[in-house]
């Protein structure tokens, strides 16, 4: 039986100067690289495949399989691109990982590059986290100085270099093909698939785009073995992951656990709901995954169980809201987000998110009309499955799921503003001084 929590990537985040090469090496750092370099690249890839690790960036595609689907070597360049754009609302695991333990990612990049035959890897980091960028730049410098990067990695004649690239603010650049366009110096708009990046990705060369946590998990798999990895989690969702609890729990934070832990267990670890309040709704994997309620507290948080219950494991971004929160207000704000971040390339999403936003804002203000709920659901129907990329689909998830579980709150939006039904000051995490606006004299 595995322990409830299994600190691996988070194991020494509390060490002084946890981010340095010296600290990393004190904790077995770069041992996996040495082991990998003694293996054939195909065997490294085989080990990752055997671990059955599924991508940690949201979609859960098996990492080893993605690598083996890349077009075979033809003598030209092949690329590994790490997706460090972390911008899905609620998602906050990769950023603290890279801040506290950047070498786990760097070692993962070197081993993964070796496995797929990449000599120049990229880390695409969202631009809005400067200190994380500093830590990554520094980690690359240290790794290069130690001979782990460069033209003769570990003295074995292997060539791997890393460029850490900062984005400039755009959620869509987390979508893997938009990321590639952005990395090529263009507007970040998704590409038509096929061809998939494995055939024609960065500079039209075979490319694997992988999430930070996926790649950072590779050293452990190599050092401890695929069976070790499979010993955690469930049969089809192997291994561990970082679960991020935020919102109305007593103690929000990060919990590294085997896949399959439940929300009930996690909320308990977080000290329960904040004092005197009860759970109303939560997201299992960020705002793009349909919301859950109390009835889903015992759903094992693995890819298949969450899907069977009608949502997605996504990025394990568990945002928790208590009974003081208007679901309409929450969804309305997420809808603003999708409308703002829609890249404009395809009509269903560009126009649809704009309409969804109009309607959601009106319902939030208590000015919804009789047929607004039907109209919302209808527009969602027209976006879902008809958009060019998954952002369009994502924009519909909070709406359709919230209507399903809390239809009466949308109906109330035909006459009463959300802030009247659910005064916002009851939801905030600090004491609010309810001050009278000076211009308003109460008789």
């Amino acid at each position: 039986m595995t322990d409830t929590l299994t600190p691996i990537l988070t194991k020494f985040w509390d060490a002084p100067q946890s981010w340095t090469l010296a600290t990393y090496e004190q904790h077995d750092g770069y041992r996996a690289l040495r082991k990998a370099l003694d293996m054939a690249p195909a065997d490294v890839l085989g080990a990752v495949k055997d671990s059955s690790i599924r991508g940690r960036g949201g979609a859960g595609f098996p990492t080893g399989m993605k690598w083996s689907f890349m077009s075979p070597p033809d003598g030209g360049p092949r690329y590994l691109v790490v997706n460090a754009d972390e911008s899905e609302p609620g998602t906050c695991k990769d950023i603290p990982l890279m801040m506290a333990n950047p070498h786990a990612l760097i070692e993962g990049v070197i081993i993964s590059s070796y496995a797929i035959g990449c000599e120049h890897a990229f880390i695409y980091l969202r631009g809005e986290v400067v200190h994380v960028y500093r830590r990554l730049l520094r980690a690359v410098e240290e790794a290069r100085a130690a001979g782990y990067l460069g033209d003769n990695v570990g003295g074995k004649g292997v060539k791997v270099n890393i460029t850490v690239h900062a984005g400039a603010g755009a959620y869509i650049c987390g979508e893997e093909t938009a990321l590639l366009d952005s990395l090529e110096g263009r507007r970040g708009q998704p590409r038509l698939k096929p061809p998939f990046p494995g055939a024609a990705g960065l500079y039209a060369r075979p490319t694997s785009v992988n999430n930070v946590e996926s790649i950072a998990s590779v050293p452990g798999i190599i050092l401890e073995g695929p069976d070790w990895f499979k010993g955690m989690g469930t049969e089809k969702s192997t291994g561990f992951g970082i679960f991020s609890l935020s919102g109305h729990v007593a103690n929000p934070g990060q919990f590294e656990a085997p896949l399959g832990i439940t929300m009930r267990e996690l909320i308990e670890l977080a000290g329960g709901m904040r004092q005197g309040h009860k759970l109303k709704f939560w997201t299992p994997g960020g705002s793009s995954t349909p919301i859950f309620t109390e009835e889903h507290l015992d759903v094992p948080l693995d890819f298949d169980s969450v899907a069977a219950a009608g949502s997605m494991l996504g990025t394990r971004a568990l945002q928790v809201f208590d009974e003081t929160v208007s679901v309409v207000r929450a969804v309305s704000r997420w809808t603003d987000f999708y409308a703002h971040e829609s890249c404009g390339k395809c009509t269903p999403c560009r126009e649809g998110t704009w309409w969804l936003r109009q309607i959601m804002n009106r319902i939030e203000n208590g000015q919804g009309t009789q047929d607004d709920i039907d109209k919302l659901v209808d527009i969602c129907d027209n976006i879902l499955g008809r958009s060019f990329c998954a952002l369009g689909d994502a924009a519909t998830s909070p709406i359709t799921s919230a209507v399903k579980y809390f239809r009466e709150e949308f109906e109330a939006g035909m006459h009463t503003p959300a802030h009247v039904l659910f005064p916002p000051e009851k939801s905030v995490l600090f004491d609010v001084q309810t001050k009278e606006t000076s211009g308003m004299v109460t008789a």
Binding site: T10, A168, S244, P252, E341
Partner: protein, 254 residues
Amino acid sequence: MSGNDTSHASGHLHLRPESKEPYAPDVLEQLRTDAAEVIARYPQKRSALLPLLHLVQSVDGYVTGRGVSLCAELLDLTEAEVSGVATFYTQFKRHPNGEYTVGVCTNTLCAIMGGDQIFDTVAEHLGIGHDETTADGKITLERVECNAACDYAPVVMTNWEFFDNQTPESTVQLVDDLRAGKEVRPTRGPDRVCTFKQVSRVLAGFHDGLADQGPGAGPASLLGLRIAKDNGWTAPAGESDSTAAPTDGTEGSK
């Protein structure tokens, strides 16, 4: 307010005439030297465009006409192509930015935990709204989207450094301190917040040597680890634990 009249989201870059004035020779020379270093990081030079736009902002404080021209020249692009990219990304500014960007996260989770109250209070205190700059040129106020720090909600980013668990009062204090020229320390970041131009240079990939400052992780990041330690919970042992040398074949752990 510094020039927000031209800031409306028409999708075009409105270039003020003075933003096209040529760079001083020494500034231009330094820019070219830096740009060459940026371009050398990539197999194809167009990939250098985003970092080069950050570099332009590190000198000009926003994306200027002359900056656009320089990027176009260096990368063999048209000015329209460069502008088209610059207008796509929210971190690229179309008008002079304040010395400090104060970004209040108002995505759903932070908004509900208090981000909306923080934004309203600070906006009223400064007398400016979203994407506007105080008359002294010190502060540009923004609503920002989820910044991957939800476990520290409500979050405020100052020049893209983390200010965790904020309140309206703490944020008013923050902007007052910034305007008074006091050193301000992020919750998780270097010892003090750098200026917009300094930070833009880092985003262009020029390390400022501050990586070793500040904590590795905040308390929320460490919560699970602390609980695991208290309970003696660990990950299972793997191959590396079973004696020293990797054995071939006869392992018991199958």
